[in-house]
């Protein structure tokens, strides 16, 4: 049964999309209580599945009329609680807006709806010799609308950039129900760069109903190296050497020993040496004539940094094996504990060795199983903490360690998120990076689009400034519904 105060709204929503595309019973809503970050929960008032822009506009207007906020949601794979239905919001689930409206190979563009799955776009573009570059780890499930909201990256961000580097135009339904076409397919937009502002705004400025993206040519050749190091510090040193050598690999990924062992104990086993301190995956792509010299240079740099050995994938199967160690890491963690907290922060690349040592020390001090798989080329750390959320005491240690890691990264010149977003998870920590004045400027942007804060409330901005230390619910680690 829907809460009685929402009965009229739910009837209005059902009238817009039909009863079969409007969920309101508690058991139906349960799956929408969280996203990929299960630490936080919030119960939506309803979940609606629009199929057109007009339906989105009507839904937004109905919510506005009834004074109920709303939250856009894609596949729910986000890792910062960005799609949580705070304040009893209505979830606008965009997965049925999943048409690839056009692929324009001569102009290297695609027009898609927000519910298109990331990997599906690359699959559709591949026969034309093109692909969509941002490749978050969840690309088999995550949607492009969600990618726009979070400015998603992925392992190949180092060379190809994040979502913002590939989106040239958007159709955006504002919280008042009006609709704007922003940007230009040509990428040239005299005037404010509203597209740049909307990408990465975590669904707080409106609901994206169409996206024009740039497609990239599939590189002529790819070479993948796997360097095995005695420890993480020397692997980080190799990353620094590659960057300083002015090489721009497509990816530079480090997997630490704890992760290697977890992977080797799992179905993702890639034949890695269990006693390796860390592995570094280096992927180079581009013209075939360029790669032999680059491969040799990377091999030298890895050896110089202390690699025990460097393997070069001989074929696609071996390349996939190398990547299995990286891509299977999160799945492998599932063997260690029921829950996994995938943390996300960024530091200057040269700070990686020192910060990683301290991250591990933090995990050990809090008696947690902490492992690291990360985008080393970007300085983007992903300390992964395995835990059991049913154990409140352990949960408290997880969150305490998480906070310490964030403070450590900020002190090293870094930031609190490189690709997961602030969402609900880190909203109380954004003040570690930005002053009140900085946040005020962001609020002015938000107020331009959403003066009533009805679109995805409770994200990004602190709700309990200066009170986070004493308010465990604000810190969100007790799984108390927000």
């Amino acid at each position: 049964m829907a809460p009685p105060e929402h009965t009229a709204l739910i009837a209005a929503l059902a009238a817009i999309v039909g009863a079969e595309r409007c969920l309101a019973r508690r058991e139906e809503l349960f799956v929408y209580e969280c996203d990929g970050l299960t630490l936080h929960t919030a119960d939506p008032s309803a979940v609606v599945f629009p199929e057109t822009r007009a339906e989105v506009q009507a839904i937004v207007r109905a919510c506005r009329q009834h004074g109920v906020p709303f939250v856009p949601r894609g596949a729910g794979t986000g890792l910062s609680g960005g799609a949580l239905a705070n304040d009893g919001a209505v979830v606008i689930e965009c997965s049925r807006m999943n048409r690839i409206r056009a692929i324009d190979p001569p102009n290297r563009l695609a027009v898609v709806e927000p519910g298109v799955v990331n990997a599906d776009l690359s699959a559709a573009a591949r026969p034309h010799g093109l692909f969509y570059a941002p490749d978050p780890s969840s690309q088999l499930a995550c949607t492009l609308g969600g990618n726009v909201a979070e400015n998603s990256g992925g392992p190949h961000t180092l060379k190809y950039g994040t979502t913002t580097d590939h989106v040239v135009a958007l159709e955006l339904v504002l919280p008042d129900g009006s609709c704007f076409e922003l940007g230009s397919p040509t990428g040239f937009t005299p005037g404010f760069d509203f597209v740049g502002a909307v990408v990465g705004s975590e669904g707080t400025l409106g609901i994206v109903t169409a996206i024009v993206v740039r497609l990239e040519p599939i590189p002529e050749a790819v070479e993948t190296l796997l360097a095995i190091f005695p420890d993480v510090v020397s692997a980080c040193r190799a990353v620094g050497a590659v960057i300083e050598a002015a090489l721009v690999p497509a990816a530079l990924e480090i997997v630490d020993q704890r992760t290697i062992r977890a992977v080797e104990d799992s179905v993702y086993a890639a034949g890695l040496p269990r006693d390796a301190g860390a592995i570094l995956i280096v992927e180079l792509d581009g013209p075939a004539v360029a790669l032999p010299a680059q491969v040799e240079r990377v091999r030298e740099l890895c050896a110089g940094a202390g690699a025990d050995r460097v393997e070069i994938a001989r074929d696609e199967a071996e390349r996939q094996r190398f990547w299995r160690a990286r891509k299977g890491a999160f799945g492998a963690m599932g063997r260690l504990a029921p829950d996994l907290y995938v943390h996300d922060a960024v530091v200057p690349r040269r700070a990686l060795p020192e910060v990683l040592a301290k991250v591990c020390e933090i995990g050990d001090r809090h008696r947690l199983t902490l492992s690291n798989v990360f985008h080393a080329g970007d300085g983007n750390l992903h300390p992964n903490i395995s835990f059991d959320r049913r154990d409140p005491e352990m949960l408290a240690r997880v969150m305490a360690a998480g906070e310490e890691i964030l403070r450590l990264c900020v002190a090293a010149g870094g930031v609190i998120t490189g690709e997961h977003g602030v969402g609900t998870e880190k909203r109380e920590f954004i003040s570690l990076v930005f002053s009140d004045a900085d946040l005020e400027a962001m609020q002015r942007l938000r107020a331009t689009f959403d003066p009533d804060r009805s679109c995805n409330p409770g994200k990004i901005f602190p709700t309990t400034r200066f009170c986070a230390e004493s308010n465990p619910k604000a810190r969100g680690y007790d799984r108390v519904p927000l």
Partner: protein, 401 residues
């Protein structure tokens, strides 16, 4: 006594009067020279209280960009913000003040073994000016647009609020990407005082190739092909006396550059003196600084019809196929015809138009940014939030905000 004169005691040493400098017909005879960001903040607050209007000023190389100001009492000089505070060669990032001359910054970055990925096409100017105008030049093909280069920046908003966004790290989604909003906004929201930049690796090899006497159709087809080569760094098609000349700069590793050069040679281009590498872009851009200049964007496959629309006006053209830009120069008396043709060309190209330069009489009654009405409404709302007293660049930006 004007409002600015009335403020003189409050503005103190920062206020300097001088001979009038006309900005689109509006004479400006004073410049504020803040010592630091706090000073700048206080000055902007004072200007706002008296409803005065100011124009941020770097080297003044692009003062002609924008709509005619509705009012301008003074410039705000960024000369005190001229410092390269940090250059981290191991990271490939640097931080510099907005008043730093691009030439100085470029030289320092080169000394450190990197390249500054901001092409001013010989205009000169300051870092702040390059970011505020986000002006595109040929090497944006290889470097990316100015918006892509900025990792973070410090901005004093029009009402004096001192803010910072982004950071020094190369990947960051902490909060809104405010830098995207500030870069290219012509100081309409605030004054950029410094920025963190992502530097570009130096290329091991560079080659320049040219082809002459090309028809429009052949040149555009060749240009799109060349601009899509892996090592294409810049690609210009410019009017010469007997057709278009294509100039392509390749940069990257030696093997890739050689391979791409061979492909261009097979299409009839020939190696050019490497001195052209720097000279070509600058010379062509300088040549186009006529009284009236418009830029029209087009999808790659629609550049040709876009060129046809403009060609009918007898203008001089410069095409950047990789960036999808067609620049046209005409004399001032052709303003109406050129604006109309540019609007048609933008439609033909599936893009937008911008009038980069025009006599102020020609700007009257027009939005030189060609902003669509819906976007103007959002722009006005944004401006009102950030600059409630309409202090900065009053009326100059898109939609007259």
């Amino acid at each position: 006594m004007g409002e600015l004169e009335a403020l003189a005691p409050q503005l103190g040493d920062a206020l300097r009067f001088h001979d009038p400098v006309a900005v689109d017909g509006v004479p400006v005879n004073a410049t504020l020279v803040p010592r630091d960001a706090d000073d700048l903040s206080a000055l902007l607050v004072a200007l706002g209280e008296e409803r005065c209007a100011a124009i941020p000023l770097g080297a003044g190389t692009q003062l002609g960009l924008g709509n005619a100001p509705r009012r301008a009492d003074c410039f705000v000089s960024l000369e005190a913000f001229s410092a390269i505070d940090e250059l981290d060669a191991s990271e490939g990032v640097c931080h510099a003040g907005a008043g730093t001359p691009l030439a100085e910054l470029r030289a320092r970055v080169a000394e450190a073994g990197w390249e500054l990925p901001l092409d001013d096409a010989g205009r000169g100017g300051t870092l702040g000016g390059a970011l505020a105008t986000a002006a595109l030049a040929p090497r944006a093909l290889g470097f990316g647009r100015p918006r892509d280069v900025v990792l973070g920046c410090e901005v004093v908003l029009a009402d004096g609020l001192r803010t910072r966004c982004g950071g020094r790290v190369v990947k960051n989604v902490t909060g809104y990407d405010m830098a995207k909003l500030y870069v290219g906004s012509l100081g309409a929201l605030g004054v950029i005082t410094g920025a963190w930049l992502r530097l570009a690796p130096k290329s091991a090899a560079v080659r320049v190739l040219q082809g002459d006497e090309l028809s429009d159709a052949d040149a555009v087809e060749l240009g799109v092909f060349a601009a899509r080569l892996a090592t294409a760094h810049s690609c210009l098609l410019c009017d010469e006396t007997r057709g278009l000349r294509a100039t392509v700069e390749l940069a990257g590793d030696e093997a890739s550059v050689e391979q791409d050069a061979r492909q261009l040679e097979e299409r009839g281009l020939h190696g050019a003196n490497s001195a052209l590498r720097d000279a070509a872009a600058a010379r062509r851009f300088a040549a186009l600084r006529g009284a009236l200049r418009v830029v029209v964007s087009a999808l790659p496959m629609r550049i040709a019809p876009c060129v046809m629309e403009l060609r009918g006006q007898g203008v001089e053209l410069l095409v950047l196929p990789g960036l999808g830009l067609v620049c046209a120069r005409a004399s001032a008396e052709d303003a109406d015809a050129l604006f109309d043709a540019a609007a048609r060309a933008a439609r033909a190209g599936g893009g937008r138009m911008l009038c980069e330069r025009a006599p102020h009489e020609a700007k009257h009654g027009r939005d030189v940014f060609g902003a669509p009405p819906a976007e103007v409404a959002l722009s006005r709302a944004l401006k009102a939030r950030f600059d409630p007293n309409d202090v900065l660049n009053r009326g100059r930006f898109a939609g007259g905000v």
